[in-house]
Point group: C2
Chain length 348, copies 2
């Protein structure tokens, strides 16, 4: 059962836990903000439910809680970053902070980040850029889940692509999509409910199509749109992992399964200053007109409203900010145990 809690309260608690686990105070605040932001926007899979595994990995020495950001190569518009096996969210925010003045100066700036971890929802970083009239195009590799087209062995992660764009509508257009046909979490959820999954989602380990959730979890998730998704996920892998110097494909460690080695995930950020191309106010007017055009398209039978990406998660955020974020019992129990172990007052 999920109860609702004040985002500020949860954020303070998570920051306190992380700080007691060895994360520097300002970094703990960044981590807590990123995780709670995911819960606020309705993507709890990338939210506070991850605190436990991050802290466990710190305790096992698999994440370096006080890692520095090391710049390995630098040009006017670019950085090649070694995240030092630090927390993904912290190192990503630190990298973005360094890219912003570069993009303001040169119009565009890009960074590869290697030696990182799972770093939550890409749109957290993209929305920060949009709030400053910039566009962050972001990608990341992930632990293996998908096969190349024609194969049936996990090679690629669900490798997402994201970008957010400022509008005059009160919310950014938020593109944030895994290149898999479906999040692996949906298959896990179907298994828990004892239900089959729709055809076309997954293959067994032998490469046969399956609607059995357990067989799917032992096999591979399919790429979105077949060979097109394969091409996109490969693009993400090359920018994020090959170009950054991170682990590639099956060499990327699994956050939950591999409790004996680091993940070595790679990320790729490219940041554009809108003003380098167009007056930001004009950009927003133009995008607002595009949104109006999209929403006034003739609708398919049974459809009452056409939404733009980011609209639903904005509505969800308004609701969660007003009513509190839902946290399920398992997550609350994990936080409580962490508090007891670390000597933090459990405030939920």
């Amino acid at each position: 059962m999920s109860d609702r809690f004040s985002p500020e309260l949860v954020q303070s608690l998570v920051a306190a836990i992380a700080a007691r686990a060895g994360v520097r105070q300002p970094d703990a605040a960044i981590l807590a903000e990123a995780l709670v932001d995911a819960d606020v926007h309705g993507t709890s899979t990338h939210g506070v439910s991850r605190v436990n595994i991050y802290m466990r990995r710190i305790q096992k020495g698999l994440i370096e809680p006080r890692a520095k950001l090391v710049i390995e190569r630098r040009r006017g518009g670019t950085l090649a970053v070694d995240a030092g096996n630090g927390l993904g969210q912290v190192q990503a925010v630190r990298t973005l902070e360094k890219l912003i003045p570069k993009a303001k100066k040169y119009g565009v700036a890009a960074a590869t980040i290697r030696n990182s971890q799972h770093f939550g929802a890409l749109s957290f970083y993209c929305n920060q850029a949009a709030a400053q009239d910039m566009v962050l195009f972001a990608m990341t590799s992930c632990e293996p889940a998908m096969s190349p087209e024609g194969g049936c062995q996990a090679f690629f992660g669900t490798n997402p692509i994201a970008a957010s764009f400022p509008t005059g509508k009160g919310f950014p257009v938020k593109i944030d999509l895994a290149t898999s046909i479906v999040a692996r979490g949906n298959i896990i959820a179907a298994q828990k409910r004892g239900q089959p999954i729709p055809p076309g989602w997954a293959l067994t380990a032998d490469g046969e199509p399956t609607t059995d959730a357990a067989a799917a979890l032992a096999g591979t998730v399919l790429t979105m749109a077949g060979h097109k998704g394969y091409a996109l996920t490969l693009m993400v892998e090359i920018f994020s992992s090959v170009l950054s110097g991170a682990a590639v494909g099956p060499a990327i460690g699994s956050m939950y399964k591999h409790l004996d080695r680091k993940q070595d995930v790679g990320h790729f950020f490219c940041l554009f200053d809108i003003a380098a191309f167009m007056d930001p106010a004009e950009f927003k007017r133009r995008l607002d007109r595009a949104i109006d055009g999209i929403k006034s398209c003739r609708k398919r039978p049974g459809v009452t409203e056409i939404l733009v990406p980011g609209e639903r998660s904005h509505q969800k955020a308004q609701e969660n900010l007003a009513q509190g974020i839902p946290l399920d019992e398992a997550t609350r129990n994990e936080l409580k145990t962490l508090c007891e172990e670390l000597g933090v007052e459990f405030t939920l």
Copy 2:
């Protein structure tokens, strides 16, 4: 029926036709090279079959054959370009030429291009960058064909995304995909053959699923992967058309249908210098190892080989360079008529 012709011969002929239609000699050479390159790589839909419509649009004053490239905004790493309603291929190559020194200097460089046209296959530009140890990430808006998810009115083009990456394998990894579930050309071909199309490709004008090719052509092509493709195609539209100042959505002119107004297509280029992030030789070794890993994945039943994107088109290019490029009779007849009208010797 398609006969085969020497690529050099066809390229000379196309360049001669374009020059006599008013295109400057060096620009005519660029156009001919871009079109023949598409035929060489087996994407004849973006090749010499387009010469006729481009020349007809020049003759009608709908394309400016001698347009200059006007830089409207400029920073160290960025350009906002007005293509002056010139030939898309020419203005894109000219823009790429300007981005290369910027990316060499700053590590990354980006350009918006407005007031352009259909400019053929994105991979032509991306492969040029890859040959110089750079990565060009390219997008373009296109004339309307697809609806936003939930709608049934053509708003977006089939808005492609592309990037090519150099390898040590003798061919670049070439990502180049429309965000539609299928190229509209496949539906036109089914109609010509009098055959139905597979379910899931298209909707009627009323938004009902259809397998009737004619009804599909009167309706809309579906985005790849439903709402995910919608999000991606919107991203392409925003970078290429909203940010560039080009026409957006249904305001983009149709190359064949609108013989009374310009297209005003927008493109977006972002160019990365690999050496800004990693030694290019190491990058290629790493990508080669990734390719080897992909190709050695366990195969699905009935699959004999796992290919990487770009491999098949490279094989096709080898074949076409050795045996000549196939040109169908309709295209040959169009070229012949153009030659007669313009006083160019028809050499095929």
